[in-house]
Amino acid sequence: MDNYGYGNTSYGGSGGGGGGGFMPGETSSPSGGGRNEDRNTTMRPITIKQALDATQPYPEASYQIDSQDVSSVVFVGQVRNISTQATNITYKLDDGTGEIEAKQWVTPDDSMDTTDESVAAGGKDRNGVEINGYAKVFGKLKTMFGDRKIITTHCVRPLTDINEVHFHFIEAAAVHLFFTRGPAPAAGGGGGSSGAKDEAMAGIDGGYGGPTGSGGSGGGNLPAMTPLAKRVYNLLRTEPQTNEGMQAQQIAAKLSVSIGDVARAGDELLNAAVIFSTVDEQTWAILDY
């Protein structure tokens, strides 16, 4: 599976399209940022540069990478410094794309048998992590002291297989491409059968004309688009319809997404000139010739 199941996760961006003055996905006041975070439990592989470049749409909001809310992240890095204190361990990590600190809070009853001295002497700390060794960090992206970004982590573990380091970056790149250019085309012609298990995924896995089995003849030269735009396009391709096409309302109901999102996806497809509006602005058909 190419897309790691990111496709059917409800990210903040798809929640509140019609929400007027509210930010996308925010159902309560902006101070309810914590709720947003709890809902999105997807663990996203990133590079440190992506963490440092992450932006907030407004203060206290969730950080965004590639316009997607992120809270839980996983990254790898070479440990440059370990600082053990009574309440936390702070790691400084460098993965070649940037440097960031990761803070692991410890509870007082955890046995603190490792002191700064033993780490400095080249020993390993309580997580088995050593200075200049690689580590994989699972945590959340947070801000401390103004705009300095840190990771609060639940788990730090040493990395001993270099292939895992390389794999992590490639996985992070795959996820980045998923969000910026949409899912990869389904491998081979088997998209239909495997996708049948999950309706929502089928629309994504189908990718370039998977369900018809005819390969990429029609959609092979589709321009880059968001995952939702691709779902709308695939629905328009496969759904039985008159030559007037389908109404945005129908599409929204079929895909169970908000009308605002469908309108945005429609705009994208219209701009890409792969669909055209028929009887009115909100009724679209595939531009096929």
Partner: protein, 123 residues
């Protein structure tokens, strides 16, 4: 921006050499290879099917023949001619057979195609 060390293959060294026209000194690079020769203050690493690179070692560099190492260093002219790496740090990764160099090649390719994710442009 913070210090970055782009991952490269031997064929990319020229892009990070100090002779490049840019006034700013280019960033250090990261290179992965197997140690094939140790000659006191220089060493040679072999980078998969991409040939060999000469390293100018630091006095406290500890390299072992036959081990896979990740090298962080500045691209520099080497006495033998051509470009090599003046070592800043090395990380020992043990047995080269445990590393699939093809994955590293793909990774380098990806990092250079997806600059915004990995590195600020060298300017």
């Amino acid at each position: 921006m913070s210090l970055q060390t782009p991952r490269v293959l031997p064929s990319h060294l020229h892009a990070f050499s100090p002779s490049a026209t840019s006034p700013r000194s280019p960033p250090p690079v990261r290179l992965l290879g197997t140690v094939t020769a140790l000659r006191g203050d220089t060493a040679t690493i072999s980078c998969g099917t991409h040939g060999e690179v000469t390293l100018i070692l630091k006095p406290d560099s500890h390299l072992q023949n036959g081990k896979l190492v990740e090298v962080v260093g500045k691209v520099a002219e080497v006495p033998e001619g051509g470009l090599g790496i003046r070592v800043l740090a090395t990380t020992d990764w043990g047995n080269p057979a445990d590393c699939d160099y093809k994955i590293y090649e793909k990774l380098v390719e990806v990092t250079h195609k997806l600059k915004p994710m990995f590195y600020d442009s060298v300017e």
